[in-house]
Symmetry: D2
Subunit: 511 residues, 4 copies
């Protein structure tokens, strides 16, 4: 994420983007807006075609009409630009298992690609389809659609399996067809501003690294809170649960970025692999999570009945024991982190919406002796991922005025106020990631061995849960989750009861 | 400075404050307002008398009339309260060398002190007089004025000598009459909010100490800038010069607070001595400054002639070579700081008004290799003492948005915005110090051995300057000072040419 | 190297060792003795055959007779045991490029392997042949000789190419035929006691890691000295030179072990890859060496003419500019080591025979201020690889008795005196490595990516030398090498002129 | 202890040593031999007289005859030199409270002092008398015996009081008569080679300081073991007990040297005070010891009856509850040591004779994960004070040979083998201290504030013990002491059951 200028070679070459599963929701809601944001910022080459591909019958115009409203809604007043963008979009029908159909598309594209004597044709295959068809469409592409003059890259979305075994199957399929440097596994959390910021924050500042270890850090808490439930679409979720949906991937990726050692390079040649070498090293140092290191919950309707409980969602089985909330603790058993608890909390239908990382520091050694009888609050570094991106460090100063006791305040960097210009129009995570793919930067994509290592940590736990060895605890929607979970977390991380958050950086009131 | 609650025993006892030199400017402009601020906040005991004492003839009412305007100007709308305060003020005439005169005052006071059956009478002797009369008035007090039922404390103002020899004379005088725990040497910079904050900032936070050493700190710069000249009152200044006036005392005290090791205690029993033990230890580790480690300047009239040059001030000799500006470098030769330059800069008639400390950190080790071809700005911790108190850390984040390069921003704590309520009515440095004296807290007063050690550092330099071995360089008033000084400082501290300060914390533009 | 007990499964299975190039010197002098040492210590399975394989015609007995003298010479009095060992050795003639020949051998072996109903047959292919035949014999093995019931492992000896390009060719050949976990690239220095000790020394002691970084280490010097010349066999050497022969492989491997970060594991599951992940990371952080970072030498005859100069060796061209000595400096540009010079020195025909690593520490910060006027020698950790293995730390103590000045002495661990029992009969590096191979432990073998990274560091320098851009400086045999090299090294590492080595750990006198 | 060359000015001046209490045992057994050792090594000025002074009647020759046998026994073959030394010794009788008597001696001495035109007469007053006469003899000296041309120094022996109150009385007496720089309080443990070595070991080596703190040190154990009982002279001991006799002074002084921060200087100008500033700072950071942090013992006769039990000593009351053994734990509550237990153990009639300090380090962070299933012993630094001075660090290496597991060995510096020449004739602690006194070096003498701080730590405990709140536990003579004490200590320090000591440094077997 550091060398913005690098990797723009593709802009002078031709590009075809094949959006596989173009009729679906993912393509409409995430892929298309991201492509538009790149278009709008001139990050797409002049010689470029976006080809929607799916099994249904549809005209170019029908696809454009399907995609347009989302774009117009988000970017009011840019109708002309949106139309210009959509004019680069066409639709071609085909079977996912047909090399012939796919080849047909690219036979047609070749002309476009070579317009104006353009000699290099790059092709990006965006898999907006379920993993069940990866093998088919992958084979078809390999056989019929690869560019011989430029690069070929696959963007693949989760889920990447449901456990170690199913992941290995997926991995075998993909690796049997494409090389690692062609494959871009998306974890869109890696595209979020604050996560993309982590390499710079950690390794381009001398002030954090000396503190970033077991001698100074007491605990790390990674929190994901949603204030909505399944909203009538619990079917997909129920077969995954909160651990697979959020923790094994997004939060684990964040943990790896937080905990990793310095890479050989954080920018420039090969940095994508250097960064992922370090991330996977963190995962290898984490032992599989056991049931006793986990508290699960499932939301019930709130007292005011303003929402159905999870199992009352029509798309969820009445006897579902799928967790909608979980709190876990794990340890990174390496010299930097041995003994420091990494706590993960994630839940739906909670009291607020927030994603953040808290790194709590030990109170200074001997503080109790140096300040006898006086409470010295601990320092705490907070990285708020969303909403309202911010970095702030809880810091003690003397209470201003004639009093002398320490009072907790903060050294603050709220993106909204500090970077108001830039944040007003911040690109989406997908936009960032597709741009990285175009530039050939793999650092923000998950590597095969990372996925494997992450599944190794979670699979035994997931299997135990599915074997019914532990049940989720009911909690009222819009609450903090099960009280048992708060109790569990408090063993590793104690909230400071006296600290009051101050307006400029909003939303710190609860955790 | 940490245990605000402690030390309030004096409030239940009687108190007499003898302001020696009550007719003078110091008493009117600094002592009286400070006493009023304590009165206004209920930090003075009910049974209390302020006795102005000087050689001139004056009535109580004349002294009150002399003091009232300063108070009224600063505290508009509090006329009644000010009058109530002034009703506790009386004036008594006497010679400084007359034990009889002084005794006379306290014979009279005894009745007041014992009113309401009060058994403990505390006496504070405030020396708002030049050191030349210290011996006389000190002897007179010792002989005739000491309380036998409560404490007796002397508040003494600088100058504490002009060099080692003259200091030793003063020290001998004072120590011959009073014990160290009765003597409160004032350096009013130790009463400023940010300096009083330093013990808490450093030792009640775990985030700073690991960084606070030679491994991470590249340089420390302590800056004092005034944007006015001698304003027609250069006589006193000319006999001292900027080094004695500001550096040997105020800035050296700040350096000691910045550089000191952790004291046994920073609050509670004996902490005043524990803190000063550490401060003096820093001074002992500094070698005397040599001429080559110093650049001096003297201001000339600005191009627009809006102000006379220093030697054009009527009270300054035409051929004066007294420096109005100096930049120095020194080293604290101990395991924590060996090799780290501590730069001091101080000047009059400069381009802005500011007192601050900058601690610049090394760029992260291997940053150039980790971020090839990308500039990584250094972290820098700034403590702005005045105006607009602030603590902020220059920090790099990824440029928000699609770019990836680090950009310098800051983790900020601007007192004005964060503590708006408290800062609007912040007490003066003198107010804080007199309160400390009433509470018997000596931490923010300079100890005899500190003064000796500070003179040891500066005396050889001052003697060399007075022997004409180096001349000050002329600089235009309202400029940054001599260009040679900027060049000299840049050997130890390089400003970051790209960093732009952001509004919330004002005033960082220049240094 | 830590879990001795692990990996003994092979002992209960059958084993065939195919020594390819069995007629050669390498097989006789290194492979055979190593196999005997394993036999002697019961580290070979009962069901085991060693098959010598080469193109020449030879009987089993002829091979045994060729190997016996070396064994007998080293292990006097063990004639019977040696004969028992040799009875497991047979010879089969074949072409290196003939799958048929190789298959023939194993068709014959199968019976032996399955004797006693043994179901698992492991096969170790020892390549005691030049790289030019790797492709041929590799293909032949792959086609005709792989065991289907047990493991197949290749032990391959250097040279692994002469530069990046030739290495890539070799790598392509090997990787096209065998998987990385089947391939064991030997760098026999990794089998030496002190190098095998490094993982334990560094990561099983808490006392070294905190010191093992740029804050404390001033420089690292890795030294290889031979006191003999080419001894009439300079032909092979002349085509390589000292840099390829010793530095790019042996000394670079030692550097990687010294400089590496902690691996995920240093023993147990997957530790071989974890260790090599860290080693290769070190190599990636080193920039290619440039000519100005190198001083080369070539030995001339000594004054007494007791030996011919290098170019006077009959097997060396008269105008050879091949270096027999080199001193280099390189930097590991990562957070741990940025700025610390790693010096390598290697030479033939020098004043002594020795391989060692010296890690020199900075003198304590502020030592000059704390001990005014007194010399404080620097600490230095020495790891002597050969001869007389030792670890010792130069340490200062007060001169015993009435004097008070520091004197350099050492905390010493001389293997010869401390582990006299174990060291008397220490196994050879090859013995250790073949045992590791049998146990499936790859940590002490070099991985493909390490070889690539090492060549990347040295190739530009080697090409520059071969292009005649710099000439070796003549030095007298049995001297310290060129004076220019001593001067060059002294820029990074200064010897302590006062330190005198003390008998128990011999041989420290010179460096 | 570092600048041996400094302070030899006294050698060119005249010197009178007044040994007060010359008839006593202390003078004969400790003072006289120390003076002889200085004489023997030419550390006494040519113009020197030793005056024995006491109340009994005695001739010069009688005193010489009393002192001679001790000297002859220790220094066989030096009879002539001893006689030469004794010829500088005379005896003068006087009362301790008689200024006249003392003055008489020095009236006589003046002539001697001024022989050869010598102008500077230095006088050393050695108090080999009980504290009860300090006031008398001190006043007498002050009144009648001070040199006006040279320095006057008092060497005073313990006991320095029995608790805070009695110490304050003593302190008041001494300070009322002499200045701190005239007063040399002896704790002879500060004169022992290994303790004198501590400043150099800690601050002239860069390898120890980074480890010397709570992050790396698990515990510190200071042990004093005697293998003899009171030997029929228990009277004095019984009124003190082991805590006062050994722990409050000797072991506490060692603790302070071990735990202290770096002084401004460890040699050169003012270093005596800088060192003691740091030592006293350590003591201020220790809270008074409470009964629950202490286990006491009293020895009983051994099973074989080879020695009487403590209370069977005729000079000890039958119902004595005086401890002859104690184990204590205390904490130095400062940033360096917070949380690290400092254990003290001291006892008489134990299984061996030894004084040593052990600093045990934490096992490396994550060692259990890095070396799965393998025991990794902790590093331990041992400073053996007596017998057989040694410094050694328990260090893990790979078991030499084909095994790979870590084995604990040691980096060793045994003074006996390394410094055989110097140690054979090592001066006594008293010799070193008297020399320091002659040189005006106070670093190895205890300062008034140190004594006060040490008593503050121990006084509450001693009073509680004397109030009968806890009884000593009986243990058999020649055992390890009470089993309860071993259990108590094991909470803070666990011995490594597998480690076996290796011959070169003897005596590590037990602790």
């Amino acid at each position: 994420p550091a060398d913005a200028s690098a990797g723009s070679k593709y802009l002078a070459e031709s590009l075809t983007i094949l959006v596989i599963g173009a009729s679906g929701d993912l393509a409409k809601k995430l892929t298309a807006p991201a492509l538009y944001e790149l278009y709008q910022r001139d990050y797409l080459p002049k010689q470029m075609t976006i080809v929607g591909y799916a099994r249904s019958k549809k005209t170019d115009e029908e696809l454009r009409d399907a995609w347009r409203p989302v774009l117009v809604k988000k970017h009011k007043g840019e109708e002309d630009r949106i139309d210009a963008f959509l004019s680069t979009v066409i639709y071609r029908r085909g079977q996912y298992d047909s090399a012939e159909d796919v080849k047909g598309v690219f036979d047609e594209m070749e002309e476009r690609e070579q317009a104006d004597g353009q000699e290099v044709a790059n092709r990006l295959f965006y898999f907006a389809v379920p993993p069940s068809v990866f093998a088919d469409i992958g084979s078809a592409i390999k056989e019929g659609a690869l560019s011989k003059t430029g690069w070929n890259r696959l963007v693949v979305e989760k889920p990447f399996g449901k456990d170690t075994a199913s992941f290995e199957e997926l991995s075998k399929t993909i690796n049997g067809l494409f090389t690692p440097d062609q494959t871009y596994f998306v974890d869109h959390y890696l595209g979020k501003e604050m996560n993309q910021n982590l390499l710079v924050l950690r390794f381009a500042n001398s002030m954090f690294e000396p503190l970033w270890n077991r001698h100074y850090v007491e605990s790390v808490v990674i929190t994901f809170k949603e204030d909505i439930g399944t909203e009538g679409r619990g079917g997909y979720f129920d077969s995954f649960g909160i651990i697979r949906d959020v923790m094994q991937n997004h939060l684990t990726q964040m943990l790896a970025l937080i905990a990793m050692d310095a890479p050989v390079r954080a920018a420039g040649e090969d940095f994508g692999d250097y960064v992922r070498d370090e991330k996977v090293k963190v995962l290898h140092a984490i032992k599989p999570i056991t049931l006793d290191k986990c508290v699960m919950g499932q939301y019930a309707a709130p007292d005011d009945g303003s929402m159905p409980g999870y199992t009352e969602d029509d798309t969820v089985p009445d006897d579902s024991v799928t967790p909608t909330y979980a709190a876990l603790v794990m340890y990174v058993d390496n010299p930097r982190w041995a003994g420091v608890p990494f706590v993960m909390k994630a839940g739906k239908a909670l009291d607020e919406k927030k994603v953040e990382v808290r790194m709590k520091f030990h109170t200074p050694a001997a503080a109790a002796a140096m300040f006898p009888g006086i409470r010295v609050p601990a320092n705490e570094l907070v990285l708020r991922v969303q909403p309202n991106e911010a970095v702030y460090m809880k810091t003690n100063v003397k209470t201003p005025g004639l009093a002398g006791a320490p009072v907790a305040t903060e050294l603050d960097l709220s993106y909204g106020s500090r970077f108001d210009d830039k944040m007003a129009d911040s690109p989406s995570a997908y936009t960032r990631l597709i741009l990285d793919c175009l530039r050939g930067k793999q650092a923000a994509f998950v590597r095969d061995d990372e996925l494997r290592a992450a599944w190794k940590i979670f699979t035994p736990l997931l299997h135990d849960i599915e074997a019914g060895k532990k049940q989720p605890i009911k909690y009222k929607a819009f609450s903090r989750g099960p009280a048992e979970a708060d109790e569990f977390v408090s063993r590793f991380y104690k909230r400071d009861p006296t600290y009051e958050w101050h307006p400029p950086t909003q939303g710190d009131a609860k955790m």
